[in-house]
Symmetry: C2
Subunit: 219 residues, 2 copies
DNA sequence: TAGATTGTTAATCGATTAACAATC
DNA sequence: TAGATTGTTAATCGATTAACAATC
């Protein structure tokens, strides 16, 4: 299977969230691409194409089996695998992520938290004991952790990333406002809140000028 | 000026962050599109095209004046305006956003926080007194607030959005994992963390299979 | 069977990149 | 002036949408 583009992965996630949630309420056995498209504001052809990309075949005149779709997406995105992560920076955002219980259903488990502040080291955040930065690299090595979540305040991001990469992580989920680079084989996903802000601020500023601007949904 | 696409707005934000940060250290008067492109991993032509879109002209053989670029981006994205926002939901993530001091430089000011939990109402979070949900609509109306930040746990998002829209907000910044819809003139920007997770989980799952996959940077 | 829905190819659309004359 | 850099048009690339025969 060729490697999937980011836009496709994100749509797969949206399908999965929609189907697994609505399935929880009242399980419909099957669903058509048109119904999914309607709910998520996506073109029905796009839905069928995405499904076909991950090897899902529908049934003519009927649609797709919800369970089968969910299973295929879980398989493709690797939700049934166990992904262990370390989190660095136990400020507000770090605590929020530690406390978030929704990750487990996607196979993500934060196994340790680290902080530079000695007053925080040893305390518990969301049931997770905060470790000192000194123990970061050995921990990652010893446990073979492949994902690091960066929620440090500022400016130390790149150095931290370098250390993590040399310790062996294969992906960095960067919530700091600083850009981070890594070798090609290490995925860096930036979640800069300021990117969202650009769209918000622009809209609020120009909203009165262009009342008829067609609505473009984010995400 | 025609309305700018999301990708353009996000690139403008990245230019702005880079130029205003690097300018803080050691102010170079001018910078070339190639230098910006190099730093941000963007095509130099793209940089020039974006600048030309917002009416910025460079100087042949020299490049662009950093201050002028920053000013033009600030003007276009509306950072010099004052944007007031209410925040709904003072859990971990809500607190993190309230405590984040970086918004002000983009003109964003969170003027009030609201929570359903009576035990939280009246307490202070990051210097902001938490108000009851009953007072949300009147507050938005009275102060003419145009942006709402949603950091509630789950499932109440759509109802809340409807109330906020009827109270007059023009944009919703949605950090909840639930999809929210609004009339065309109201911008909804979703910051679903799970979308990022799709890319992370996929990479971690398939990383060993495709060691030679070209590196695509996020953000 | 008839008709709704799929799977896929072709057409369109938009965004990115290349090329290059104009400019300082 | 010579040469580096811009601004813009044209070419490419990729993603989305339309069309429609195949299918259940």
């Amino acid at each position: 299977m060729p490697s999937l583009r980011r836009v496709v992965l994100e749509r797969l996630m949206r399908y999965y969230r929609f189907l697994s949630e609505s399935g929880a309420k009242k399980p419909p056995q099957t669903i058509t691409s048109a119904q999914i498209a309607e709910a998520l504001d996506i073109d029905p052809t796009q839905v069928r194409k995405d499904f076909s990309t991950i090897g899902l075949l529908g049934i003519g005149r009927v649609g797709f089996e919800v369970c089968e779709v969910c299973r295929a997406i879980r398989f493709t995105l690797g939700f049934d695998q166990r992904h262990e992560a370390v989190l660095v920076g136990t400020g507000h955002l770090g605590s929020a992520l530690l406390a978030y219980s929704g990750f487990a259903r996607y196979g993500l488990h934060i196994v340790a938290a680290f902080d530079k502040d000695p007053r925080r080291v040893g305390t518990k955040v969301a049931g997770c004991t905060v470790k000192s930065m000194r123990s970061l690299k050995p921990f990652v090595r010893r446990h073979g952790v492949r994902l690091a979540i960066l929620t440090t305040p500022v400016d130390v991001s790149q150095k931290l990333a370098d250390r993590l990469v040399s310790a062996g992580v294969k992906a960095i989920w960067n919530f700091t406002p600083t850009r981070v680079t890594a070798p090609p084989e290490v995925l860096v996903r930036d979640e800069h809140i300021s990117l969202g802000l650009s769209e918000i601020a622009y809209h609020l500023t120009h909203e009165t000028e262009h009342p008829s601007t067609p609505h473009v949904r984010a995400s």
